[in-house]
């Protein structure tokens, strides 16, 4: 039996974790210092690249006015709804395809075709169909995520280990029992990976929708600021998008720990 809980192992893991936590902010600090030094005494550079100081000031203004929270909430809501719908529908479709080789063969070229369309090309059409409100952004986030979820979950279902399938066959398990006992759990890793990929894609879908036509959201805020050459607000918007992506990724990691407890053991 492997002893993974010995005091020495636990102490080693804890000290490694502490070092990692200390190293996390280092690249960011180096980047901010280099940026500040590059732009500090040159107004033209500050106009093109802005500066950490100006971005901080833009952040403060946006937070005090409530604009940042309002726009972020809209983008987050659009991306999150599209993410949940797209990943859920994609996973259900992908896993269902395991049931029928015929249906999966027929569906394959359609899924590939849908996956190969750049979401930017679909955006004008979606906005025309659903309007400039949040529904069109949710639809774009959905379309950005659904194909990845289908492909990943189908791949997960098809790559279930043959020894488990053989065991189920020997035990006389029905197809539904095999699905529940082997296919679903072994696909979960793939579904979780799809979730990780889909966070960025959902934000991208929502952002593209806002970028093309919107009245609120971080995409709208960035487009408007860039039209006014307000680089500090643009960068503040981009940073906020990054923070949202990191936040959602950490939520997915929590979900992963819940869904796949055996991996952390």
């Amino acid at each position: 039996m492997k002893n993974l809980n010995s005091p020495r192992t636990v102490a080693a893991v804890q000290s490694q974790r502490a070092v990692t936590m200390m190293l996390y902010p280092v690249p960011l600090i180096v980047f901010l210092v280099a940026w500040q030094l590059y732009t500090i005494s040159d107004s033209q550079r500050q106009f093109i690249f802005s500066s950490p100081e100006k971005v901080y000031s833009a952040f403060t203004t946006l937070i005090v006015s409530g604009d940042l929270v309002r726009h972020s909430a809209v983008t987050l809501m659009e991306a999150l709804t599209g993410f949940v719908l797209g990943t859920t529908c994609g996973a259900v479709i992908g896993l269902s395809l395991w049931y029928s080789r015929l249906v999966s063969t027929v569906a394959k070229p359609y899924i590939t075709a849908l996956g190969s369309i750049p979401i930017f090309a679909l955006a004008p059409m979606i906005i025309a169909w659903f309007g400039i409100g949040i529904v069109s952004k949710i639809a774009l986030a959905f379309l950005s995520t659904v194909v990845v979820a289908i492909v990943q979950s189908y791949q997960g279902a098809m790559s279930a280990e043959p020894r488990f399938l053989r065991l189920m066959q020997v035990f006389g398990a029905s197809r539904l029992q095999t699905f529940r006992t082997v296919i679903l759990p072994s696909s979960l890793i793939w579904v979780v990976n799809a979730m990780k990929l889909n966070i960025g894609l959902a934000l991208l879908g929502a952002f593209i929708g806002e970028f093309i036509s919107a009245e609120q959201g971080l995409g709208y805020m960035i487009v408007r600021a860039s039209g006014l050459y307000d680089m500090a607000t643009v960068i503040a918007g981009v940073f906020t998008l990054v923070v949202l992506a990191l936040l959602l990724t950490s939520v997915v990691e929590q979900i992963e720990r819940r869904l796949l407890p055996w991996r952390s053991n």
Binding site: M1, K2, L4, R166, L167, Q177, V182, P185, N265
Partner: protein, 263 residues
């Protein structure tokens, strides 16, 4: 001197194969296995030896119903539905996302074994195979190879199979673990009056565990069917290796096997 010392001898056949043919291709004129017949009694362990690719594992897969024969008949305890089979592979098939207990509970979920019976059998098997109850809440990745293989055997036995198929189940284990596990397995089969067919490459293992050793020739038909019995009251796979007759059996089987290999 070769005589029988089996605890259980009964004319009742556990497994009967007659006129079996199998081909990987649709063309039935090119069978991999041709006209195979075999019978195994309850309480009997048979080992199958032969060159790689002669159809040893294919034979087990056919018995287990994992492959379909193009002709012939397989019946287990005169039942052609083949539901009472356990199959233990070289590599354990414990699902890493389930705890040991949940892996063992497959007998309840799929085999519809009543909870109380499952519980009693589980406790009995854990003590037979020298496993502690503490492992039940662990995940398979937290166990050693020997423990995983023990759990794998218990998993199959909880389905209460009358016939056990074993495809080199001890080959990945270290020598000491292997000897111990062979002994536990042997005693279980004899005590509970099951039948077992073991595919192995190890002549010593075949002699130590089996009542009969079957040697297959290159086209999958039976070249020799050798009875393995000892003048030794307490036959045990570990101690039997030191008995003089063990060497006699070894020489006889090796001579037959060598003849097949050089064909």
């Amino acid at each position: 001197m070769v005589t029988s010392n089996l605890y259980f001898r009964a004319p009742k056949k556990a497994l009967t194969i007659s006129g079996l043919k199998f081909s990987y291709q649709k063309d039935a004129s090119l069978p991999v296995l041709n006209d195979i017949s075999l019978s195994v009694r309850a309480g009997e362990i048979i080992s199958v030896l032969g060159k790689s690719g002669c159809g040893k594992s294919t034979r087990l897969n056919l018995i287990a119903g994992l492959m379909k024969p193009i002709a012939g008949e397989i019946s287990i305890n005169h039942d052609k539905s083949r539901c009472n089979i356990g199959y233990i592979f070289q590599e354990d098939a414990l699902m890493p996302w389930r705890t040991v207990k949940a892996n063992l509970a497959l007998a309840q979920e799929i085999g519809k074994v009543p909870h109380q019976q499952w519980q009693v059998s589980l406790m009995d098997l854990l003590s037979r195979f020298h496993l502690s109850e503490n492992i039940l809440e662990m995940y398979p990745t937290q166990l050693s190879g020997g423990m995983r293989q023990r759990v794998s055997i218990i998993q199959s036995l909880l389905f209460n199979p009358q016939l056990l198929l074993l495809d080199e189940p001890f080959s990945a284990l270290d020598f000491c673990t292997k000897l111990r596990l062979e002994g536990e397995f042997y005693r279980f089969i004899k005590d509970t009056y099951r039948a077992a067919v073991l595919v192995t490459h190890d002549i010593e293992e075949a002699i130590a565990l089996s009542d009969r050793v079957i040697i297959l020739n290159n086209n999958g038909t039976i070249e020799a069917d050798i009875s393995v019995t000892f003048d030794y009251c307490q036959r045990d796979p570990e101690s039997i290796r030191g008995v003089a007759e063990f060497g006699e059996h070894y020489r006889l089987i090796w001579a037959k096997l060598k003849a097949v290999i050089s064909q």
